[in-house]
Amino acid sequence: MTETIRTNRPLLAAGLLAGLLVASAALAPLIADARPAREIPVENVDESLTDPGADGWSDVPAATVPLASAPSDVPNADDTTVREVAIEAARSDEQLFVRLRWADPSADRSTDSPRAFADMAAIQFPVNATTQPAIAMGSRDNLVNVWQWSATATTQELLAGGIGTTTVFEQPQVATEATRTTIGEDEGWNVVFTRDLDAAADNRTQLDATTDMNVAFAFWNGENTERAGQKAVSEWYYFPFGPDDGGAPFQTILWAVAGAAIALVIAVTALSVRRAGQEGES
């Protein structure tokens, strides 16, 4: 009995080790694929996703981005209500689609009386795609391009170089579509921003960039009279437009091959050890 146990022990250990390595090899691609904290994945698509209810959105991974009140000198700047937003992005050969979904139980669509303020959402990009401007509306030397949707069914494209400098493009190239939706247990907004990748104008962000692109988000709850600097904002995030894009399948293959090779080596080693042991005993 004792002999049997002794002779089986190395084999058992080798088997466990091999199993562990095979498992880690299988999990490794997933770990390697986990997004860096500030990355918002961008899915490559063939179809148009301008419709916030399009089926194609179900294949696009979402990032949940936390929001906080923007630092601002306007009254009640720290009184904002939108806490987080689910963000999905997709890129076709010609267009970028960004879908934002956030909870806001009251749909405030009017600015038609002195006290009426509308719900709004905005996406901010650096004008110069390779830079990261000051988060609060950029700066004089490093401008930002902002797309602002309002529940009044208007969309503005803005240029800013610091707080209080927002200027409207006369002919916006950004389109939006919005619907009400259910977010968790609340009602909320589901808004898609669409723009051609090619900016085709000065002071507009080129979206056919091949490097990672910084992007930030802002939300206003009209019911809470949020406007201007009284808004819930994200930090800078980025769209991974850089060359790593599309590397995941290759990585998977590499890790699988490496894992199998390691397991094979261990199995062979274990067998050799076992054989050597048997020979020694006999």
């Binding site: 009254p75 009640n76 600015t111 002195p114 927002t166 201007a228």
Partner: protein
Amino acid sequence: MAHDNVELADGVDHQVAMVMDLNKCIGCQTCTVACKTLWTEREGTEYMYWNNVETRPGKGYPRDWEQKGGGWTSDEHTDRSVGEIPSQEDYGEPWEFDHEGILKEGKDKTLKPEGGDPEWGPNWDEDQGDGEFPNNYYFYFPRICNHCTHPSCVEACPRKAIYKREEDGVVLVDQDRCRGYRYCVEGCPYKKVYYNAVTKRSEKCVFCYPRIEGEGPDDEVHPPACADQCTTQLRLVGYLDDRDGPIYKLVEQYEVALPLHPEYQTTPNVYYIPPTAPPQHSDDGETVDVERIPRSYLEELFGERVNDALDTIKRERAKVERGGHSELMEILQDKNPAQQYRLEVFGDD
């Protein structure tokens, strides 16, 4: 420059100013209509009265504007009282009337606002006033933007879309910069900035700047329309820092023209000669030596300086009654447009 003891805003060359003699206002609203016809007949401005005449005591326009905050917390002008935006109901809806149907088509119905039963509107409490018969009292109170020396509306705007212009201190909203945030609407303690829900921008009294610049069709300098059209010519228009003008004398020398609610600390440039009413009557109709408009009420509006102002006016009036001469009484009765409207004294300096 002739304004040694006149406080002008930083960066302002001269300061336009207006004095309104409340003793002359008959509440005819000609100023209101003049302003409305000229400036606020556009879409989105229907509810606005850049110039309004309200009955005091009363809730005013917009309703209870004195309870809606705004202005500065001290004369250091560092901290603002944020204030609130009046509701549409506080202003009153721009009602539609079926003049066409009643007057031309002979419809048999009462002329009243169409579609609804309003519960408030401008001058809803007209002539109501306060006090018990036979000593009830009220007076009319014309109001425009005060074009303040320390405008809290300007400070409130995060975009600097509202500004005090250099040449004459007129406070204007740059319609290209304004994004309709309405911080100026809530920040003005006099509630004299209005939101246009059609253009999505805020608007206000422009002191008829094209008129005072002589930019009208006749190339002549004119006073603001509210002053020009006034049936009793109760307004004087000029520059606070024009030491030879009647405004300087009334405000700085005799100190009988006072800003409304000086405690808001915005330093208005529209000034008022406080009203005097006939004395009170006894129940049997005899005149008694008690002022009809309580001083306490006038102090609420103009601060404690109203007492000295009224005493000065009373003293100067008595002087004239005794056959003497009073420069102050001369100014208050002046019917010479060259003195009443001194808008060309500084030229293009």
